[in-house]
Symmetry: C2
Subunit: 242 residues, 2 copies
Amino acid sequence: MSSLQGYTVPGLPLVREGDDLAALVKSHFELQDGDVLLLASTIVAKAEGRFRMLEDYRPSPRALKIASDLGKDPRFVQAVLEESADVLLERPFLLVATRFGHIGVNAGIDQSNVGEGRILLLPEDPSASAEAIRERLHCDCAVIVTDTCGRPFRTGVAAVAIGWAGIGPLRDWRGERDLHGRPLEITLEAVADEMASAANLLMGEAGGGTPAVVLRGLDYPRCGQSLFRTEEQDVIRRHLRS
Amino acid sequence: MSSLQGYTVPGLPLVREGDDLAALVKSHFELQDGDVLLLASTIVAKAEGRFRMLEDYRPSPRALKIASDLGKDPRFVQAVLEESADVLLERPFLLVATRFGHIGVNAGIDQSNVGEGRILLLPEDPSASAEAIRERLHCDCAVIVTDTCGRPFRTGVAAVAIGWAGIGPLRDWRGERDLHGRPLEITLEAVADEMASAANLLMGEAGGGTPAVVLRGLDYPRCGQSLFRTEEQDVIRRHLRS
């Protein structure tokens, strides 16, 4: 019987700019080799000082137009555009590809848990953040930065991995065969996204949420390709252009 | 500290038409009240006799046209069309809404693990399947039927819930407040999908996979709305029409 254990990291203080997340986690939880540490993007971003004041943004004409269509603060829209490499939809919500390749509404910018007039950007490069944290853990663990996203075709949000280190986010089943010896049709399983979703069941969303979770007992690949589709690989994204 | 445990149900035999899945699981695993039992759609479909022979399908002109464009067997395309309430994309792959509301490629029809010339349809109504299994478990458990699906914007497949019983698949965070007392922007968390993803980390895809997993330790809502977006709610789906 295979088994999986998931634990919240208990007793973490509110994270502030400059905090050493690796040290914080280690002082509250005894990691073991092979563990996967999942951190909500909000605490990674807070530790990295990714707070911005809305009043510091100067909306472009494009931001003013989009903000007017959506009934949003034009400074907020400007912040989203500045974090974006590509805009997929301008209405009825602002769906963009961030500069690091993740596709999400409002570039994942958070207006909750940060105080009035402030916003919290996603980490600039979540996989680099994960790698820096992993190095300071001094154990053979993987680190995944998670964020919750809406999905086409399905109601509600689910957590996905927006950054990772020490893990290949896709398990490659190529070469495996089914019960009848035929090659599998499904070849790439997004294990880092599935881990993010598993962890989110323990994290919770509200003020009482716990933004760090450890998954134990899983075998996982140690390297591999990215979770982010390029535009050429993405039929749905091309349809949004048309 | 909150914790989550996941277990594969060990020693299940190959499932055949007419098998009582609830009895099979109970004879191999001691369920506790509050457990969530996750079953791969394949074993639910097999127990329900959802095998079909390709030779029994008569391709319509539309199936012949799509099959020619995709280089697929026209009988397979006909099977997909017969399981579909709506076709979202005909190329470069066949993306449909099943009659029970799930959106997926090829209506989730499986050609692996079933033998030459045979296909395995998804259960006709996976939530009804889940409810029937749940009733025979005789404990206060939830049952989720899972399937793996590709996703727009992200590489690889991840498991989602295509049927459920004894659980509200969406956790409603409305009324909850953030650390600063402001209402949360994210209100619906697709916990059944996150559970399906968590379970899939233990299931595996290949011949040695284990199609039944139990998650323990999670608090979850007992009722609530569906995971399937209607067309009116789905901006991306409307764009595929245009």
